[in-house]
Symmetry: C2
Subunit: 264 residues, 2 copies
């Protein structure tokens, strides 16, 4: 399914009207089903629905490994993706009325007490990256994002290794773009260890927790982090880079993983 | 409470490190209580918690008029705002397990079927605005937003009348900035009829529905709408202006409310 479409617009340029068409991002309500029971409805860009769903379930702590999944079935007409889990898998879900809720989930809000965060293992990776490589990645990331940043206000996310972009995703939701990456990694056994996530969007606590859960040691954003994003990165041993663009960047936490020519 | 704070950063500029401080937006988990029962926890910028809470309840269809509210009490330490409603008020809520859910709510997702939208009255306002006034408003809006757009990735929203900005709000959430406006309007009996909402963020279906529920006839964004945002604006009789900046803008729906010098 295309994730943009053309709509008629009237443009006003220097006070003059002109009928034209414009590309807009599509917005698709997707219902995630787990073992044929409704779990959540979210708004997303309608591509890679399977990766998005698996990534969402990974981020919510419902799925841990590829072996947890028996099948993933998207139905575009019904706007659903159903994930059947492996037999005997104990799901970290609680029932609330007719609804299932991931017990560690609630979009991260439940994780905001210090106890829960202490339980999460600190990221131990010895990975390092030079500031020059970060800026080269940021420039390539920006080049790939530009079309849809201009037309649709879409967010991008990438999985990188060294100076290379391995996976690149877009979605109207910041969270969803990252979930599409995490979902594909799980479906195709692509390692996230010692790799890097890049995002166009703000780094809130929710994005930080999502990425840290997969043991990813470096998170780079073109934008700003929030204060909680910074605190969590510090506590969880993650390197957090913000405003990576042009010839500069800010290192908000665990700066030791970023090297410069000065260090030689 | 301040909605930004300073954090230490290491800046890398042209390959050279420098220790410094940077302003980041605070992220605050706020729990909304209705008659002392927990309704929802959201992440927000920690200012105007009362306006945000009332606006959220207005947007979810729980509160309709100022008379529905008996009291609004914020507790910053517990991170809660409790709204006590007028005695005898029938609340459009359903219970799901231990949790209360606004029956028209679910952050708008439940509203995406044609039946629900048909029930909403079409906006009948005869208000019009010139393209020159829109661009003047957009320039003033941008001027006020700039500090925090640069530092914190914060979204802005404004209530306007003619060429004047009446209320201006900021929040890490697009939705929250608009809710803070709608909340203050209800608390202080500020009319939204024949007025204009301006937003820095993307116009998704959820923002569109929120604004249309208050009968606001014109919505202006610096950014793009989604396809559902455009469809809903058309169906609900709302004028939707996107990419309003510099000397240009796009009219996506009900363009007749925007006049140009050509029309004279």
């Amino acid at each position: 399914m295309d994730y943009t479409r053309n709509v008629p617009v009237q443009r006003i340029i220097d006070g003059r009207r002109k009928d034209d068409t414009e590309v807009v991002a599509r917005e698709f309500p997707l219902t995630i089903m787990l073992n044929s029971r409704e779990l959540n409805t979210m708004l997303c860009s309608p591509d890679e629905l399977e990766n998005l769903t698996v990534g969402f379930l990974v981020s919510e702590g419902v799925l841990k490994t590829r072996q947890d999944i028996k099948s993933v079935t998207a139905d575009e007409r019904k706007r659903t993706v159903n994930v059947e889990t492996a037999e005997g898998l104990k799901l970290p879900l609680k029932r609330q009325g007719g609804r299932l809720i991931a017990s560690g989930g609630g979009r991260g809000v439940s994780l905001y007490n210090a106890e829960d965060i202490k339980r999460q293992p600190k990221i131990e990776s010895e990975l390092s990256i030079s500031s020059a490589t970060i800026l080269a990645l940021a420039a390539e990331f920006q080049r790939r994002s530009e079309v849809f940043q201009n037309t649709g206000g879409v967010h991008s996310a990438a999985l990188c290794q060294g100076g290379q972009i391995l996976l690149f995703k877009e979605d109207i939701g910041r969270h969803n773009a990252v979930d599409k990456i995490l979902g594909q990694c799980m479906m195709e056994d692509i390692s996230t260890r010692d790799r890097i996530i890049m995002t166009s969007g703000r780094v809130s606590s929710e994005i930080l927790l999502k990425v840290s859960r997969r043991g990813i040691p470096i998170l780079i954003s073109r934008s700003a982090p929030t204060d909680m994003g910074v605190e969590l990165a510090e506590a969880l041993g993650m390197t957090l880079v913000g405003f990576a663009r042009g010839e500069r960047m800010n290192l908000y936490a665990n700066a030791w993983r970023v090297t410069t020519t000065e260090d030689d």
